[in-house]
Symmetry: C2
Subunit: 328 residues, 2 copies
């Protein structure tokens, strides 16, 4: 295992320190793994988070127009309820808090527990659970579909709704509509290594790829021989399009998300195929994002997320946001 | 070799297509590997470029506040003079063109040749050559110091100067001042594989790192056993600081540049050490950037760039820019 790190046990702590040292617009709550905006905003507050190892998710999406707080767990491990509660306490105002949770059993359980504790303290909390991964129905650590990179669209849209002054119930409803309309699927070309284990999360032969991989290296739907980028894109996009029921004339946003070690050039090669396929079907791409938004450490591979837009979702997606990993 | 690509010979072409399909604010000159802004600006025009494989450099820095055109060569290969000339022709207005060239023998020769051809056509062209890499004096493909990630600071500062309406000679002078004040050095944890060769550019043992690597996998100054992130940072930063003559009270900007496969979390761990070291020395960090700005395909590793700021350089660095890979 070759990692640019110091003691394994300090990985997450030192990463968070390095992040706030780079970005003075972020603040770390003392003694926690919670990043918040340096300045508190008067609106519905948004809290998300999850295991570390998916950077820039979620701290990279804290800022005006997106999240108010991100809670980091240990590597690929759900944040604890007390850390989530600290985040809720720090950012809540009069207008309540929305928790945006990726669908993993541990995350759902711990965010739920934190929500209950916050409610007992008189804080109004709502939750939405993102389950955008169309690859598998149930999987390691998850009942139902997993939450993956499409979550970033939900951060953006809920963030814009909160910034626009919508009340909590409406922000939650808009976030749910975004969740219902976002569909994702990924593929891995190589595994990643969690620092504490020191071993790759799985093994892939030199000519093999794993279709439908999760962001923690959970098994996908099948292993197949490596083939052309266009063929790989088609495999993912066919499944996504079938599930998303996207039709000619529909407006969509596309997110081509690098999992960590895949060069940006290859993500653009993938995007070429995605854009051409959608254009051929008469689908209107309103916005495309190509970068690393939700990674799996140094895993090679990528995911495609397709968000079907109505008028309001499009408006909220295009609204200004100023975070370290998303600007619009 | 596992790559997300189609035919090797179409790699650069399809990457550029995918890029303009994602970003309608970019336009590809038909029949070329040149990306330009969709809308021409009335000011000194800035052209940069170089071999492909360093994405987002340089197409990701085309846009308001930075470059007007980026010329892509084949993988790790200088763009040809005729392609550079096409870029100059497309973007030049009444106020002339500044070429920002990284110091590699092929790049310098081809940009020089294009400049001569453009001059014969009556276009006023100036050039600056970036040689920020303090690791080695001469190296494979290069006489003198190599140009690496610090080049992005030069794009930004020259871009702001052009946008502010400075005349060509002044934009060139400001760019040269940025070059004189930027110092960089990198380290590799793993090699990359150029698609056409199919073989890793060099071999590193499982416990070895290459200090002072170039962005094409050119040899560095020495191979050493892998050690802590803090120690690796210290090795790079000691060399940079010695060369940069940065002192207590100086203002600087820091760029922590991922080479391709290094997780953002590890870049932040590195930044923690950088920020603390500089603070301890009484150096004021005015701005920190942590991301992939100039990569070497899927090489693991990173580089540090330190830009010493005077009042004008700071102002230009902070001026607005709207490109796909840099916003401020």
């Amino acid at each position: 295992m070759k990692k640019l790190m110091n003691e394994v046990g300090h990985y997450v702590d030192q990463m968070l320190d390095g992040m706030v040292l780079a970005h003075p617009e972020l603040r770390r709550l003392p003694g926690t793994t919670v990043l918040v905006r340096a300045e508190k905003a008067d609106k519905v507050a948004l809290v998300s988070g999850g295991g570390s190892g998916h950077e820039p998710a979620h701290g990279g999406f804290v800022g005006p127009g997106m999240l108010d707080a991100a809670v980091a767990g240990e590597m690929f491990t759900s944040p604890t309820p007390d850390q989530i509660l600290e985040a809720i306490r720090a950012v809540h105002g009069d207008q309540g808090v929305l928790l945006i949770v990726k669908n993993y059993t541990g995350d759902v359980m711990n965010f739920e527990m934190a929500a209950e504790m916050a409610t007992m303290e008189g804080i109004h909390v709502e939750q939405v659970v993102v389950d955008d991964d169309v690859a598998v129905q149930n999987s390691t650590h998850t009942i139902g579909r997993r939450g993956i990179a499409g979550t970033v669209f939900v951060h953006k849209i809920a963030g814009a709704a909160a910034e626009a002054g919508y009340p909590l119930e409406t922000v939650a409803a808009v976030a749910k509509r975004a969740i219902d309309n976002v569909h994702s699927m990924g593929v891995a070309l190589s595994p990643c290594t969690v620092p504490a284990s020191g071993q790759p999360s799985f093994q892939l032969a030199d000519d093999e790829i794993e279709i439908g991989i999760g962001i923690h290296g959970e098994p996908g739907v099948r292993r197949e021989p490596i083939r052309s980028a266009d063929d790989v894109v088609d495999t993912l996009l066919d499944t996504i399009l079938e599930d998303a029921a996207v039709q000619a004339g529909d407006d969509v946003a596309v997110l081509v998300n690098g999992l960590g070690a895949t060069p940006l050039s290859e993500l653009y090669i993938a995007n070429r195929r995605i854009a051409r396929r959608l254009a051929k079907q008469g689908v209107n791409i309103q916005q495309t994002r190509v970068a690393e938004y939700m990674t799996s450490l140094e895993m090679a591979g990528f995911s495609i997320s397709l968000l079907k837009l109505d008028h309001e979702l499009a408006k909220l997606l295009n609204a200004p946001a100023t975070t370290t990993a998303w600007r619009s």
